[in-house]
Symmetry: C2
Subunit: 378 residues, 2 copies
Amino acid sequence: MSTRLPCTVEARDTWSRARALTFQTLHGSVETPIFMPVATQAALRHVDLSVASELGYQVLLANTYHLMIRPGIERFRATGGIHPFMRWGHSVLTDSGGYQVFSLSKQTKISEDGALFRSYTDGTKIMLTPERSIEVQRAIGSDIMMVLDHCISSTSDTQALRHALERTTRWAKRSFDARGNSPQSLFGIVQGGCDEQLRIESARQITDIPFDGFALGGLAVGEAKQLRDDTIEFAAQLLPEDRPRYVMGIGTPIDLLEAVRRGTDMFDCILPTALATQGVAYTSLGKVDLRRGVYRAVEQPLDAQCPCATCARFTRDYLHHLVKARESIVPQYLSVHNLTFYRSLMRRMREAILHGRFRELYENEALRLMATDLEFPT
Amino acid sequence: MSTRLPCTVEARDTWSRARALTFQTLHGSVETPIFMPVATQAALRHVDLSVASELGYQVLLANTYHLMIRPGIERFRATGGIHPFMRWGHSVLTDSGGYQVFSLSKQTKISEDGALFRSYTDGTKIMLTPERSIEVQRAIGSDIMMVLDHCISSTSDTQALRHALERTTRWAKRSFDARGNSPQSLFGIVQGGCDEQLRIESARQITDIPFDGFALGGLAVGEAKQLRDDTIEFAAQLLPEDRPRYVMGIGTPIDLLEAVRRGTDMFDCILPTALATQGVAYTSLGKVDLRRGVYRAVEQPLDAQCPCATCARFTRDYLHHLVKARESIVPQYLSVHNLTFYRSLMRRMREAILHGRFRELYENEALRLMATDLEFPT
């Protein structure tokens, strides 16, 4: 059992598999279920880091692949890591570059040793091996490091999925060894697409290694939503009870509710800020696409229930005007709102689990959150 | 004497023509010298309005021409004006559309009646007359309205300049009559390019009308810097001592120091936020263009003297990284800094005038502020 990430299971829901954990990183307590905003290159999109802190976010996600290209490992060594670099006092989780192995696979040569990329800044070749990824993450100084995994499309054939999961296991062992005496936590990643037998094999191999937590990789990369939910439900049970479970790259509000219900704890997604860029806000009654003329002259806030600085001040009419005028402040005002929406959802889920009311919350919220994937005319 | 803008001259500098005024608008006290950030379409670029308020800005500038096109006069009538619309509790000054008469002149037909534009949203024709501009500004509900003027390039020939200033006078009278019983203040605009005789004629005609304040128009539209300073010095004396004097569209930090020294009080410019968009920050030792590689690995803030949230937290190294990474947060972090720089400059000028230290400030700052127009390597 690892001692690098002391973790307490504070409550288990009796109706579902939902749980509430508290674990300790090098930078403080983290309470689950948790959503981690994405700060790929050591900054959030549109939102001052101090706002994320005020909203109560406890972990940001940054990306090893991007940060090793720019600003580069030497800058992190010189500045003492990403926390002083971006002036963030809470926890940071670094993705390993495994997602780029998937998303940039057409321009990448993947071998047993690792993945060979070309830098997007100057075209030089970059070899990302499991050991190199850990070396970079150690320099970045994240609280939670991820192993480099071989992520492929979840809709690939069984042979390709098995090949990728076996390589992921070999890379996981190399990553674990590469961590050495670093005090940083390290999470393993279970692959296997949506194939139950493969998930069993991968989970057995990965959980044999004493990682501090475990992620379900290879999801949100092409599979249907129901299949994803089923895979999460099946695969979550294969992971140790007393360690955090992280589903990488999800999701929408309803995705988060469904994944928590199925026994997973940690999530990340670009959606709250990416939708804000487009002029779209989440509300308790559905998504509001402020580009639409129907919001002209609507003198209500985005969401009357929302305590955020945007809803406290601005009407849909005004926000619609700003979107039409292409004012650069729009993504900021909407990101603050969307991040408040996500934070509130996670907080309510945790409270419900702690107080034995998760079923009630689920039954009240599931339809409403499904509706957040739809657009309503007003 | 107008009573719509009670104004006190609190101090006059003995070494220069600099003054410190306090005047009362419908939304509070305004202390000069003052810089007014530009909120053309009822929003600041990149910066939450609450930040401008926290920095102590007392007046924002909005633009009649743009706001009449979008969201349109009906929205302001319905919402009760721009203050509730954008949730700004301090003062607003509206430009009349006169600058668009100049800047869009190639696509505009200008006649004695007014200026005929085409809307950039749907191509429909828009007739902007002096009366129409005041009607729109009354609906917008600004604290200070500007008359529609006929602004032409300051380098035009004498005949064209005289023609424009005489039309400006006729339009000023029509604007004054159109204000009617509105409690909003109204400023006249003196034209005449850089020709002293024409400035005298224009000032005589415009100050004959009991406006609440007076602007020098037709500057920062092509003339050399020294000629602009000379024109401000000459023209400022032609205006009533006890009314605010506003130089439209300037300027850089050194422009503001020179204009205050020459007896003017109010200024607006897009520079603080426009430079931020480019990755450029003002500092007490010169402009810092964060796109430049020389700022990599520089672990000092933009300006060690600056109390802003950006300088309190971030190194030039980190900000350079964000600029290179094209992170969308950059213009926000730099705008907060640049607006802090401008606000601090105006505050220090006012304090110096009030305490008889303006010469000292000028002699200390002029070279440094001239340097802010230059770039330094580190």
